[in-house]
């Protein structure tokens, strides 16, 4: 499913136009990105949680030249599926 298809689905169960629905869908994901950028955690009951994880610096290699480089430490967004979602996908 793409974002466009998600917008279609949400617009089908509301009285809103596609354009208005898109504003809402965008607001949802932007709010999550904003919260993570502030270092906040997001907990969505039944779905899962998002938080920022620190990845340590590591030794890597330039795949073209083979030269060793140090990949700097960075922060990456991490998603942990909630219990309901885990159970749902393991039912199949």
């Amino acid at each position: 499913m793409t974002k466009a298809e998600l917008v279609d689905e949400v617009s089908r169960v509301s009285d809103l136009t596609r354009k208005h629905t898109e504003v809402i869908v965008d607001a949802v994901f932007t709010s999550i990105v904003d919260a993570l950028q502030q270092g906040d955690k997001i907990e969505l009951r039944g779905f899962g949680s998002f938080r920022v994880r620190r990845r340590d610096s590591r030794k890597g290699r330039n795949p073209k030249t083979g030269a060793g480089v140090l990949v700097p430490a960075k922060k990456v967004p991490h998603f942990k599926p909630g219990k309901e979602l885990r159970e749902l996908i393991n039912r199949r």
Binding site: M1, E9, V10, V28, V33, Q38, I42, R45, H78, F79
Partner: protein, 113 residues
């Protein structure tokens, strides 16, 4: 920096940026309500629920979900492997299972800086 806000939709205080309290669906619904302007609080909360239920149902059918500018939720099969009970140190067999992984979009930027 820690800032204190009072939520218009509820009576509790949240310390944004403090990492003390997580953002919840209610917080997202409030943002949706404010950004759209033309729907009720209750409708905003319902649509937030619809969005995550819809993603969940697609993942439940083994379908990947790709949200441009945010990221992709993928279904991954994990193989059976040997593990240890971290409390007892006892070795055990971990059954094969299905898992959801999230690949953040490159547009995500560097979080938490």
């Amino acid at each position: 920096m820690v800032e204190v806000f009072r939520l218009s939709t509820s009576n509790h205080w949240i310390l944004y940026g403090s990492g003390l309290l997580p953002m919840t669906k209610a917080d997202i619904a409030r943002i949706v309500y404010e950004r759209h302007g033309g729907i009720s609080n209750r409708e905003a909360a319902r649509l937030v629920e619809v969005i995550f239920d819809s993603i969940k149902s697609k993942l439940g059918h083994g379908e990947k979900v790709q949200i441009t500018g945010f990221g992709t939720f993928l279904i991954r099969q994990k193989r059976e492997r040997r593990g240890r009970n971290p409390q007892t140190g006892e070795e055990m067999l971990i059954k094969p299972r299905t898992s959801v992984v999230f690949r953040p979009s490159k547009l995500f930027g560097a979080p938490g800086e």
